[in-house]
């Protein structure tokens, strides 16, 4: 991926004021899809968390439309989650880190131009890693607030978040390619994500 390509991808739809109706509608439906998929539990983890496919629509928007639409869709989905059942809040700053900011960060996946399997894995990794940063910060806040006497809070925060983000990213990555292919075939007029 050339540097010029990256800057092009960052510029695509960078100004939300100039978004067309079709992009607005696509983002709205993607946010709805994320919320619907969030209710569907694919697999329950041994330590209690569960893996869902809620990242999928946000990543698809980021890959098809670019970083800014991905960030907007993720951020709005994060905000929406705060009012949906199951939101987990222990601190006002954590609420911002774990929901709007962490999901908005997924939009970073749009910076990778997806051309095949390898770049797709790269996009999922970039998006998930960006999301991890915010969950990690919230984890630090958690362990310093609720277990102040424990040493190495960063280690617990990193381990806990990796334990659920890695499986979620892997599962999302496995199903992402066939969906992107199918969307390119089904919506020929729209932007192509796969080549």
């Amino acid at each position: 991926m050339s540097l010029l390509g990256l800057s092009n991808r960052l510029r695509d739809h960078a100004d939300p004021r100039h978004w067309g109706v079709s992009l607005i509608a696509e983002l709205a439906v993607a946010i709805g899809l994320a919320a619907a998929l969030g209710q569907l539990r694919v697999f329950t983890m041994p330590q209690g968390g569960s893996v869902s496919l809620e990242m999928l629509p946000i990543l698809i928007v980021a890959i098809r439309r670019g970083v800014v639409p991905g960030v907007v869709a993720g951020g709005l989905y994060g905000l929406l989650q705060l009012v949906l059942p199951g939101a987990f809040i222990f601190h006002w700053a954590q609420a911002a880190l774990d929901y709007p900011l962490a999901y908005a960060a997924l939009g970073a996946a749009g910076a990778v131009g997806v051309r095949g399997w390898k770049t797709l894995v790269g996009a999922v990794a970039v998006g998930s890693a960006a999301r991890l940063v915010f969950h990690f910060l919230s984890g630090l806040l958690f362990f310093t607030t609720y277990a102040p006497s424990w040493e190495w809070p960063w280690l617990y925060a990193l381990t806990y978040n990796l334990l659920f983000l890695v499986p979620e990213a892997a599962i999302t990555g496995v199903v992402l390619w066939p969906i992107l292919k199918a969307l390119d075939v089904a919506l020929p007029g729209a932007v192509r994500a796969t080549r």
């Binding site: 109706v21 439906v29 619907a36 989905y77 929406l80 424990w150 599962i171 089904a186």
Partner: protein, 260 residues
């Protein structure tokens, strides 16, 4: 499959009638203020305010309990962490466990503060429908227009998303049934196998949904929707004296909590 979304409890209490903008600002301010002062006295004032609002809201206690359930393990963990590792002089020891007065106090304080925080949050989401919350956020986000943030368009996306969640849940259910009828199994094998089994559900789901987004865009354009143009509302938000009473009560609570 549940098709209702959000935690909204429909009723006609004074708290339900308060302007969503006032409620949102009140809860955010209280949630931040709760963390500015560490004392049992301040916490009891916030707790009392939450209890009064809870009684006024006329929401059954069971609905609040649902919000509290997910944080119970956090309360347990706080106590365990304090019991195992708190420093100070132990008044009771059993093997590696040393209970200290300071540790128990800290654990109790952290747990109670968490309960009060969740109560404040629940008061907002139980008495305000997601749609009016979105309206409130759009209004509060208006100053951001100067920073080129299209707050109305963002709010519209959330409103459409909320409208589509039940439809999409029904869609998922329908596709899953159709694939089951063809012999698909979703609840077998490890995580990766389960994910692969979902591909025949996800592909039609995304294609149908994105086509629906195209139709939606066409329908919006046919009704002359244009992004970037200020829209008028059928039900504009109007602030009433009672909304200022609520905000005044919030300020009074925070002042009282910072004085004790």
């Amino acid at each position: 499959m549940r098709t209702s979304i959000g935690q909204y409890y429909p009723a006609n209490s004074p708290l339900h009638r308060v302007d969503p903008r006032a409620k949102f600002v009140a809860v955010v301010v209280l949630a931040v203020a709760l963390f500015t002062r560490d004392s049992f006295a301040a916490l009891s004032i916030y707790g009392a305010a939450a209890l009064v609002a809870f009684v006024v809201s006329r929401v059954p206690p069971l609905w609040f309990w649902r919000g509290l359930k997910p944080i119970l393990w956090l309360v347990v963990l706080t106590f365990v962490a304090q019991a195992l590792l708190a420093r100070g002089e132990a008044f009771y020891s059993l093997g590696p466990i040393h209970l200290t007065k300071r540790g128990i106090e800290l654990a109790t304080y952290l747990s109670l503060r968490l309960v009060v925080l969740v109560l404040f949050g629940s008061l907002l989401t139980l008495t305000t429908s997601p749609i009016s919350l979105t309206d409130a956020l759009a209004w509060l986000g208006r100053p951001l227009r100067r920073l080129r943030v299209p707050s109305d368009e963002l709010a519209l996306m959330v409103t459409i998303a909320l409208r589509f969640i039940p439809t999409l849940l029904v869609e998922i259910e329908k596709i899953m049934r159709a694939q089951r009828a063809r012999g698909a199994e979703f609840a077998r094998g490890g995580p990766l196998r389960r994910a692969r089994a979902l591909v025949p559900v996800l592909v039609p789901l995304f294609v149908v949904s994105f086509r629906r987004a195209d139709d939606l865009a066409l329908a919006m354009e046919a009704r002359c929707y244009q992004p970037g143009i200020r829209r008028t509302r059928l039900h504009p938000l109007v602030a009433r004296p009672s909304d200022f009473v609520v905000l005044g009560a919030v300020v009074a609570t925070i002042v009282a909590a910072s004085l004790v």
